[in-house]
Every structure is written in structure tokens, then in C-alpha cells.
Symmetry: C2
Subunit: 627 residues, 2 copies
């Protein structure tokens, strides 16, 4: 293996944004993220017309606490006085330490929004409002309400259902009574959602949901301007029925009432977030006329009340790839009673709508470079874009990264170790929150094993060395202990007491390392086979996008060190953030992006791994750690 | 006025049908109706491929009680033995007396059904079932459930919504479990309603509703064969909120909760009839996948929960002419939960879907003769077909024909006088049921006034003559009495006691006669103006169709005598029966008929009477009785 460049500082940093006119928001992002990305990921509106490429010079922010170096482009955008006062272009300002940042008001109501991995989306929402003044009926003009409306909207081929007719009739009567004959038609695609009395064109909102197995995130978007208004997230309430998709599918197979309960829990999760973002953004629920949802196939099936059993057993068949004519009510989201819902279509049972959304947000279909998109989780989805070809597969990584099969594993929550450094004979842990370490998060697990491999504590085959092995410094040797019959490496002794019982300590066991080996071998076999399918090798890859919340927290150095991702220059490994959520936002912002998602679905070639003869051979080859 | 031919016997006759394998049914029809029509109107299946024109000789029935003369065609269909045994062709057998008739089983499962005024409908329902055996999924064939279904139905461009996907997934799982992989797709137009396990193609039903202001009629149709299975009728439960549309519209204007109650009552009425016909026909409610509804604009608006106020006040504007994408549930009809609903489109606020359905059933668009279609009620709808032209109008007849504004008026129920004859110096009443006369039905009112005009008791101007006027026989003179300040003609003294107080008697007052005059003047002004619009006169009319239940009971002689209909040969005045209900059946039987109804809507030219300068002049001219 070639020498790796010096790893960047792997800490997460806190940024407190003070957006003009909105409440302050504190966010945690990987060190080195740009202020532009940090703001976008967290639903804070930033002026931009170039999409974060440093050309429009509109993404001005002022760093008021902490320091961000002046970038090459900053002097073209700001005078010396401004630079001294902390003004920076957000797309060039990397947060390497905790910061407080003022976000100025939007100068131009953008006609385009920046989302995803620097994707610039021209505003063209499926949702639109049209203010109309319909001619008053008379004996000479007895057109019906519906005919009157259709004639006033000759460019639309409206579908008008019964509730819409009721809304239209009521609005026209109200218009008659007030004397102001203006009404506003609310349209999503070709569906008349409602007609409201008066001119309400300034108020139209949508909510983008990232419906994850672990976490659900909602972003309230102002679709008149394309700007985010509020963001909220919470754990998926289905957790009570299992941490991963397989457990939840199993629950429905053993208990006939479980499906209904899981559906109700999904609805509850989405609806509570709705309440939260609407309250936060000062938006009435009835002003939300469309939602977009990106989720994996199981989450989507459960939320729609569809039996997920066929997704869990071979040959892994979905009920449907896509869902037309859905309403927000179908997903339990109480917004406008006839609000529509767009649910991202899926490629396959294990490459779901979340991946399609992520691929859209990452521009996997628009970039001719050779790029790998890896969403790490219990099920790991992998996309390879190579020129005109798009390949996808799913690798069964198992629950190691979610902390489930790891003895001291835990979710990324306060007390979780998310980073591990081993220097000389000491171990330094990075812990979420100001508390004693309680367990090991997925990113901490990868970090720990990578550091142990680098320190010679784990050999290439994945075996923990003996305490008396040559070259093990004494400070580390005392951490190599036995718990029961098994060798472990203690990361943290309770109360810092190295004489305590190692069974009470926070440790990594030989079996834990094997779990991680299996997981990383499955994933690397996945991208390896996709590359081979195209006649490529790891050296051809120009970019690796790590998606999902786990991917965002994974240290690229460690990922390369254990062989989880191809060995490429670290700067080519990009944490793409919550790309599924970004894709959902794009679907609300533009019908063109929806069409692109649909096209993506048709372009992608799915490679099924589970019936490949060479999978197991490759898997065994990929078990070893590169040393 | 020219001399009228001898009036036919005006009685109604009772026919007891004994259909093979079904329960006997007793019906009441105007004397002279054919057994074919009597059976069709009452939902009794009759073999026929010619539609009652005497050519197919399939409509065989056996008269077992009462007598029907042998027609010219009968000897061609039956041997002498059969004729002696009572066998007749139903389309040529006129019921002039009470009969008992055996109906043989259907010989051929017809591919066409006979409905309406001798209309032959080729079976082509919007509802269809397709039995399919879908290939089992495998790792090599991971198509989704929906894709698998679509690929098996390449001739259909199916719309598949979320509940249909649930049904499909469940049926496929059930098919997997039973080993029999057959499933049946239920489709209405291009909508996938459901997928059922196994082969259920033999069971598919629809219900046709005639949603009248007074009476609601339901016919359960077997759409695999086109045959009626059961018929039921009941009073519209909205009666409690007023007998006519205007009263019900007013109720919604004064009481904000009335609309919801009227909608609930409409739903209740339709749903109870559904329960009745399903029980009667041995059909599970879930086997009914489509309903069709013909009703006037007000009934339709109320049933769909649409504010009817704009229908009741100038300029009389409907919310919509037609309603797409309706389900039976939208109309409160609990059949298959995703059953669709077809609601007849309306021409205008006062020429509703019932008239469009009636025009369809009467073939008003297919007959190049000059024909008038008159549906008499509080609101009288009139259509004129003349070659390629179709004109329509509505005349405000007022409630005289429903008995509402008539002192001794009542609905056609037991005790109602439905026929009146005056011979020499006596009055003979025909009463519904074997009870003492209690009031005067609409048809009795027309009969009574016609007879009084003929007997010289009412002069051309509509004035009751004095008891001592020249030529009044003594037996009738004693019936010309005073009640309060008003002259009346007593039709029936309580207890047959001519010395009793006339105020307690069943009588017709001067004011009643005026009410009838206004009503008939409005109606005859209507058809008069339509004829003039086309440059025609009453003499050009080749057929007058009297529609609706009232029209069926109206004696043609009397209608001509008072000038309600044009003065044509009596045989050209045809009682068309419940044509709205027949139209609803046709819509279930054939998508072509639906298309014809839609085309009719676009062809008809509506003539608004209420803003015509010459209406009042004509109205006054038409007040007089022709003597």
C-alpha cells in the first residue's frame, strides 16, 4: 500500500448560524466542510446562483466567532475592511474549528436553489398557484364553475376531482360575497388541489422528507422562492420494532398486526416532524400542498401500508417501483387535506428511492467522470457512474456499522465514541457530548480498527496481536486483555482505572473486528465487482461519494485504511451528507429533477450479487486488511 | 279542435311474472303496455336480440292467467298447441287485463341487452375481469408485482393506485400460498379496481340508480351477461326536507347544516337499496364494482355534497356538468370499497343527468323523426329532436302534478285517485289500492280536469260553470258546490253522502284548476317555443314520449284534451317509463352508450326560457283549454 497523506483533523466542529430574521441554529458538521454546505445541509437559505462553485460571489457570510482563513476568491468579493470584519464567501470557507456565523438576508429572491452536492436547481415546482378573476355568471353565461376555471387556465389540462369541485364552488361563493372576485387555484402537476378565495399566491410550501430506517428528517421549503424555511429530525419511531429493515420485516411476518403498527408509527413520525417544521417556519399546515419522500424500499412499503415480506426473502420483489396519485394523507401527513405526495421510485428491493434520490442529488447521471456512490448501512448500496453507464448493486454489510452486532456498540448519540486515535502508546477518544464514553459508534469502530491496523495491533488477517508481540508499546499492551475466552482491546477503562475488570471496560473484541471485516469485505466486493463489470480498477475512480449520515461521519483515512473504499487520494473522498433528503428537496423544487429521477431509474443497470458465482471468492479475498 | 279517437281503457293492470328460477314479481303497468316492456321496466330478464321489434322471436312468455290475444307474429313463433297453452311473443303481447305470466329461462346468454325504449345495447361494460396466471418471480425475474401485472395486460394502459397495489400484492401472496397461481384483475375503464385470488370472472355486478327527487330506484345488473338480477325502489329519504328540489335547496340556504344532512340522506337511500338488491339477487356487496347514477342536477349536487344554492337562484349555475374519477363511496354506496361511480352529466341546472339518461334510453339522438320528449314534474324538461338538431329547455311547471299546491292533492300512493271518468251524470274514480279515495294524484288531476272540460263543467278559460248552467246534468250539478268563497267540484263525498259538508269531501277547487292551467301552460309554452325555434308546428310531431313515473301514469287522451302535449294521434303518445333508470343501466352495459351520452351533451342546444321576451305572451295564450 502506498503511503497515505497526513490525515486531516478528524474532529467535528460546531457552527452557530445567525440567519437574518430567523432564529439561530447550531449545527455539527465534519471539520473541513464549507459553510455553504453546512448551511445547505441544515436548511439555512444562502444566496447563490452558481451552486457553490465560487463564481457568483453571492454566498456572503460573516464569521463573528472563530477564524476562517481568507480564500483565494474572497479578495475579489470583499474589500479589506470587510475581510477584517469576517466576511467570507461561504462556498470557499472551510470550518476547521467551532464558529459563529452571521447569514445576511437574501439579496435576490432566487429563481434557482442550490441543493445536493453543489447541484443548481432552476425553480420549476410541480406545485403552482394561479390568481384568477373569473367572470361573473349571467343568464347569457351559464358556464359551470369548472368550465369557468378551465377556460381561465387554457395552458393546463386540469384534472378536477370531487373535493376540488367542492373547494372551487366554495371559493367562488366566498368571492361573490366579498365582492373581490379574485380566487387562487392551487395546482400540482395537472391536478387541481384546491381553489382559495383571494390572492394567496405568496404562500406555497412543500415538505421534503428523508425517511431513513434510523432517522427521519423533514425540510420545509418555500416553493415561491425555493428557500428552506425550517428543518427538523427525529428517530424513526419504528425503532421499537427493530433497528434495521430485516428485523422490521420479520416483525410483520410473525405478527399479523405489526404491519399496521409499523405503518402508523411511520405516519406518526412524519406527521410530528410536519408539526415541528410548520410551527418553526410560521407556516399553517394547510399552506403545505405537496410532500416528497425519499426512503428505502422497506421504509416506503411500510409507510404505504404495503406488506414488506417479499422484500425480505429471495427473490426480493417489490410491490411496485413507483407510486402514482399519492396524497400526503396516504402517508399520514396532515397538511392540506388534498396535498399530493411524491415518493421516490426504487431501483430494486435493496436499491430504494433513497438511493435514487441520493444519486440525483449527487448528479451521478450528469457527470462523465468515474464516480462511486456508497451509502453505508446494514444494507450498503453502491452506484458506479462511468461515462454513460450507471451500475448499481446492494451489498449485505450487516449491522456492524449501526453498532448492533458489536459488543460495546451503540448508535451515534451522546456518549458514543465517534473517533479513535492511537499515538505511541496512548489512545485518544472523540466522544459525542461532554460525557464519559459509553459505547462505540460505527465511525468510531472504523476509526479504531484502522488505527489498530496502523499501530500493528491487528494484523492483515484481522487477528489481534498478543500483548507481548514484538513492537507493541507497554501502554497499549496493557489494553490487550482477555474477556472470557476472547482477546479484546480496551479503549477506555471505567473511571480511567486500568486495574478494573476489562469486562466492564469499553473494548473492541476479536469478534467485533471480524464483524467489521465481514461488513467491509461485503462492501468492497460490491464496488470491486461493479468496477470489473466495466473493465475498471480502483485506480480509475476519480471520486468516492460517501452518503447517508454514517458516511458523513466516517473518516476518509480510516475508510481507506481498512479497505472499505478504494484507495484514492483522500480529497477525492467526499462526504456527500444527507443526499437522500437533498434529492427529496430537488423533487419539490423542480419537475425536471423528477423526470431526471425517472430517467435514472431506466438508465441504471442493476447487478444482483446474491446469485453471482464469484461473489464468495471475491469476498474472501477482500477480508484482509491492507497493510 | 278535431274529434279525438275513442280513448283506450285507462286502467292500470297487474302482471304477476314468474321468472324461471327467480322469485315471482308483481308489477303494475298502464293497460296496453307490452309484456316485454313491463318485464324490462321491472328488471326481469327477457331473451331478445332484436330489442322488442318482433324479429328475433326470442321473447317467449306463457300467459297462464288472464288472456292476451294472439298477435299477427305469434303463429310464426309458436305451434297451435303452444298458442293454446298461452305462449306469446312478449314484445307483441299487450296487457289489457290482470295477468299471470311465466318467463322461461334465458336460452342464450345474451351478448346484448334490451333497455330503454326498445334500445338494443351490445354488451361492452366499462367493468371487466381478466383471469391471469402471472409468472413466479425469481432472482432472474425480479419484476415488481405491478410490472408483472402490466406485462400480462399489454392491451390496457392501467392506472394503478395505492389501494390497488395493496390488493394486487395480497392476491399474489395468496396465490403463492395456495399453489393455484390464478388471479383475477378487476378493471373499470383504465383503473385497476382490485386483484382477487383465483378465477372470479363469472361474478361481476353493477347497480344502476335512478336518483329521483321523489323516488329512488336501483337495478342490480349482472355485467357478465347483461341481465338484470334484482330491482328495488323507495322514496327518496330527503322528502323530510321538502317534496321538490326548490324546497330542498332553500333548506340548505337557511340552515348551514342542512346540506350535510341532505347528502347523508341521499347516501342512506342509495345504500339501503343496495343492501336490498344485493340480498335479493344473492350477490355479495363486494362483487359490485361499479354504479351508475342518473339524477337531476340538484339531486346530483346534494348526493355529492355540493352546495346546490347556485342552482336555485338566477343565473342557475352548476358546480360542474360532469364528475370524473368518482367512487361508489363518494355517493355513500358501500359495495366494493374501490368500486367506481359513473354519474350522468347534465346539460344545465334544469336539464340534468336524468334527462340526458332518458334521452339516451329513448334514442333521441338516433332517430331522425320529429320527436318530443317531455318529463313532467315540478320542473318539466323538454327535448325536441328534429333531424340532426336536438333542442332542450326546462319549463317551471310548479308543484301541481306532485299534488302539492292542490287542495286535495296527494302523492300516487294507496288512496290516491289516479283516474277520473265522467259519464252522463256520474263520476267514476280509479283509486290506487282497495281503499276509500283520500286525495288526488297528478294523473287524476289531469284526468279530472280533462273530463270536466269534455263534460262542459269547465269552460275554455278554465272557469267552473255554475250548477244551473245550461246542459249540466243534475247528478253533476249537485257536485258543483261552494267551499268558503270558492266554487268546487266534488269528486267523492265521504261515505258517499252527498249531503255531507263539501269541505270534508274530495273535491277540485277553482284554484286547483288554475294551478293546473299554469302548469300546463308553462309546459306547452316550452314545447311550442322549441318547435318554433325549428320552424315546426305541433302537427309535424311524429312522437311524444312521456317520461318519468308521472308520465307513465298520465292518460294520453287527457294530456291532449287539456293541451299539455301537442294534439297528435294518441298512438303516437308513448309512455316511456322510467327512462332515466334505463339510461343508467345502459351506461353500465356499454362504454359506447356513455360516449353517446357525452356526445348528446355536446350536441344539444339549450334554450333558456326565463329570459325570453315572448315567454309571457305565449304563456297567456296557452292558458286556455282547447274546447
Amino acid at each position: 500500500m502506498t503511503a497515505l497523506p497526513e490525515p486531516p483533523a478528524q474532529d467535528r466542529v460546531r457552527i452557530r448560524f445567525d440567519p437574518d430574521g430567523a432564529r439561530p441554529r447550531e449545527v455539527r458538521v465534519p471539520a473541513g466542510a464549507t459553510l455553504f454546505d453546512a448551511a445547505s445541509w441544515n436548511g439555512i437559505a444562502v444566496d447563490s446562483t452558481c451552486g457553490g462553485h465560487g463564481t457568483c460571489r453571492k454566498c456572503r457570510m460573516r464569521v463573528v466567532e472563530g477564524d476562517v482563513p481568507v480564500s483565494r476568491l474572497d479578495p475579489r468579493a470583499f474589500g479589506p475592511e470587510e475581510l477584517r470584519a469576517g466576511w467570507r464567501l461561504a462556498c470557499r470557507a472551510r470550518a476547521e474549528q467551532d464558529l459563529r456565523v452571521e447569514v445576511p438576508p437574501l439579496v435576490t429572491r432566487p429563481k434557482a436553489a442550490t441543493v445536493g452536492v453543489g447541484r443548481q436547481v432552476i425553480l420549476r415546482p410541480a406545485l403552482q398557484k394561479r390568481c384568477l378573476t373569473l367572470p361573473e355568471p349571467s343568464l347569457a353565461d351559464q358556464r359551470t364553475d369548472v368550465e369557468r376555471l378551465r377556460d381561465a387556465l387554457p395552458d393546463l389540462e386540469l384534472r378536477v376531482d370531487l373535493p376540488a369541485i367542492r373547494g372551487l364552488a366554495a371559493a367562488l361563493r366566498a368571492a361573490d360575497h366579498t365582492g373581490d372576485r379574485a380566487v387562487t387555484a392551487v395546482v400540482v402537476d395537472d391536478v387541481l388541489v384546491d381553489v382559495e378565495p383571494g390572492d394567496t399566491t405568496a404562500r406555497l410550501f412543500g415538505i421534503a422528507f428523508d425517511l431513513g430506517t434510523t432517522t427521519v428528517v423533514a425540510t420545509l421549503l418555500d416553493l415561491a422562492t425555493g428557500t428552506p424555511v425550517a428543518v427538523a429530525s427525529r428517530l424513526n419511531p419504528q425503532q421499537s420494532h427493530g433497528a434495521d429493515v430485516i428485523t422490521r420485516i420479520s416483525a410483520t411476518m410473525t405478527d399479523p398486526t405489526a404491519l399496521d403498527r409499523l405503518t402508523a408509527l411511520a405516519h406518526e413520525g412524519l406527521d410530528r416532524l410536519t408539526a415541528e417544521v410548520c410551527a418553526d417556519g410560521g407556516v399553517d399546515r394547510r399552506e403545505v400542498y405537496e410532500i416528497a419522500v425519499a426512503g428505502n424500499a422497506t421504509m416506503t412499503h411500510l409507510a404505504l401500508g404495503l406488506d414488506p415480506e417479499p422484500l425480505g426473502v429471495a427473490p426480493f420483489v417489490m410491490a411496485s417501483r413507483s407510486f402514482d396519485g399519492l396524497t400526503a394523507a396516504d402517508l399520514g401527513v396532515r397538511v392540506h387535506p388534498r396535498a399530493r405526495a411524491y415518493v421516490f421510485p426504487a431501483l430494486g428491493a435493496y436499491v430504494g428511492g433513497d438511493i435514487v434520490a441520493g444519486a440525483l442529488a449527487s448528479g451521478m447521471d450528469r457527470d462523465r467522470r468515474i464516480r462511486l456512490f456508497i451509502d453505508i448501512g446494514t444494507n450498503c448500496e453502491i452506484l458506479l457512474a462511468a461515462g454513460d453507464r450507471l451500475l448499481a448493486t446492494a451489498a449485505p454489510a450487516g449491522p456492524a456499522f449501526e453498532g448492533a452486532a458489536i459488543r460495546c456498540g451503540m448508535r451515534a448519540a451522546p456518549g458514543a465514541v465517534e473517533g479513535v486515535k492511537i499515538s505511541d502508546d496512548d489512545v485518544v477518544l472523540q466522544v459525542i457530548g461532554d460525557v464519559e464514553p459509553a459505547g462505540l459508534a460505527g465511525s468510531g469502530l472504523v476509526d479504531a480498527v484502522a488505527a489498530m491496523v496502523a499501530a500493528g495491533l491487528v494484523d492483515a488477517s484481522g487477528r489481534l496481536v498478543a500483548p507481548d508481540a514484538p513492537g507493541v508499546p507497554p501502554g497499549l499492551a496493557t489494553r490487550l486483555r482477555q474477556v472470557g475466552q476472547e482477546r479484546v482491546f480496551v479503549l477506555h477503562f471505567r473511571g480511567h482505572d486500568p486495574d478494573g475488570d476489562p469486562a466492564d471496560a469499553l473494548y473492541l473484541s476479536q469478534r467485533d473486528i471480524r464483524e467489521l471485516q465481514f461488513a467491509k469485505a461485503a462492501i468492497s466486493t460490491g464496488w470491486q465487482l461493479l468496477l470489473e463489470e466495466q473493465g475498471l480498477t480502483a485506480a480509475d475512480v476519480t471520486q468516492v461519494l460517501l452518503a447517508g449520515s454514517f458516511g458523513s461521519y466516517l473518516a476518509p483515512t480510516a475508510a481507506v485504511r481498512i479497505g472499505l473504499v478504494p484507495e484514492v487520494a483522500l480529497l477525492r473522498i467526499v462526504s456527500a451528507g444527507n443526499v437522500a433528503g437533498e434529492g427529496a428537496k430537488m423533487a419539490l423544487l423542480s419537475v425536471r429533477e423528477r423526470a431526471a429521477a425517472q430517467a435514472l431509474l431506466e438508465e441504471v443497470h442493476y447487478v444482483e450479487l446474491s446469485d453471482r458465482a464469484d461473489f464468495n471468492d471475491r469476498f474472501v479475498e477482500r477480508l484482509a486488511f491492507p497493510v
